[in-house]
């Protein structure tokens, strides 16, 4: 309904983070963004299930976080920059996140980059 993005609603391979996705992803995004606080990172690293419980995540949300399924989370309603925080906490860089989104191994993805060293 937003004319600014209407034309790319159907752009292949693109999840637009709009108010619909934002509403659906609110609880998950709150959990992910909470990882900017050191105490939340510690809890998540030492006892992820308690962290999920505290955040009230659904079964589906927990499973996507456990498996670090970036693409599924983005489609579901996670904002990329919320996912990025989980990436940092779990030692996954943006190139690896992009590779998973594309469905290819990191090494394959890096071959498509002009300067694979720049990461």
């Amino acid at each position: 309904m937003n004319p600014q993005i209407e034309k790319i609603r159907s752009l292949p391979g693109t999840f637009l983070f709009d108010l619909d996705r934002s509403a659906r992803g609110m609880r998950l995004n709150r959990f992910l963004c909470g990882l900017v606080r050191p105490e939340n990172r510690s809890l998540f690293k030492s006892d992820p299930e308690i962290a999920f419980e505290n955040a009230g995540l659904t079964t589906k949300e927990r499973e996507m976080v456990r498996t670090k399924d970036w693409k599924a989370m983005a489609d579901y309603g996670a904002n990329f920059f919320a996912l990025e925080k989980l990436g940092r906490v779990t030692g996954v860089g943006n190139p690896a996140m992009c590779a998973q989104m594309r469905g290819e191994p990191l090494e394959e993805f890096l071959k498509t980059r002009r300067v694979p060293d720049a990461c």
Partner: protein
Amino acid sequence: MATIIGGIGTSHTPTIGIAFDQGKQQHPAWAPLFKGYEPIVEWLARMRPDVLVMFYNDHANSFFFDHYPTFAVGLSDRHTVADEGLGLRPVPPVNGHPAMARHIAESLVTDEFDISVFTDLPIDHGCFSPLSVMWPEHATGWPGVIVPIEMNVLQHPMPTPRRCYKLGQAVRRAIESYPEDLDVVVVGTGGLSHQLSGERAGYNDSDWDLRFLDLLTKNPHTLADMTHGDFIELGGSEGAEVIMWLAMRGALSNNVAKLHQNYYLAMTAAWAVQLYEEPVAATRRPAAKSRAGV
């Protein structure tokens, strides 16, 4: 009356700040990036602007989606760096200019821009990555102060490209009506082409990026008339960050000269930087600064 002496467009990926912290300036993969900032570093050191007014976007570090602004002016005395999940970068807080920020906020609201104001919130790589490379001498404190103007490019609906250009024009009116005789540089951060989510992740288009840079200089209205859909199609979903460059350009006069440009596509986001100088700059620095005995 404060004077805009120039403008800078710059990418802002977190990796820029991290590479700086890790001393990768000479690393072959990074040197083309850092070399591209040398003319900026030199110009800023020579012109010594009193304030950088920075159009940037937050990445869910200062603001969360339960209360998300379209435009937000930062009023703090001191802006600390946000922990984005990796702990704090070893950079000092950067001072704000609360008096000018309040003036800009008052001027914008009166001018029918429905901005939010914020204070006491940490700021992320949207500001700190470019500051790191533009002001490399910051280990013990930044050489200047900033007024941050945050723009939503995370959650649709985002301000239209035309609205962002108009925001820049309104910020120029605000700066020019500020009573103190200060030199201001406007900065727009973000972009260029990149996409981080979905199967199209990793998308870039250097042809479009270079066309964007050229249009921004010569015909920004063409860009302001485009839609987010256009920008996303051409530059990827996160490539829509270039609207911050458009706000910066809107704050410049028609007579600016482009002094410098660098473009380097290495990994996922195309890195670019541009430097514009206003004709008035010639009459301001370094004469004015030496006059003031600085």
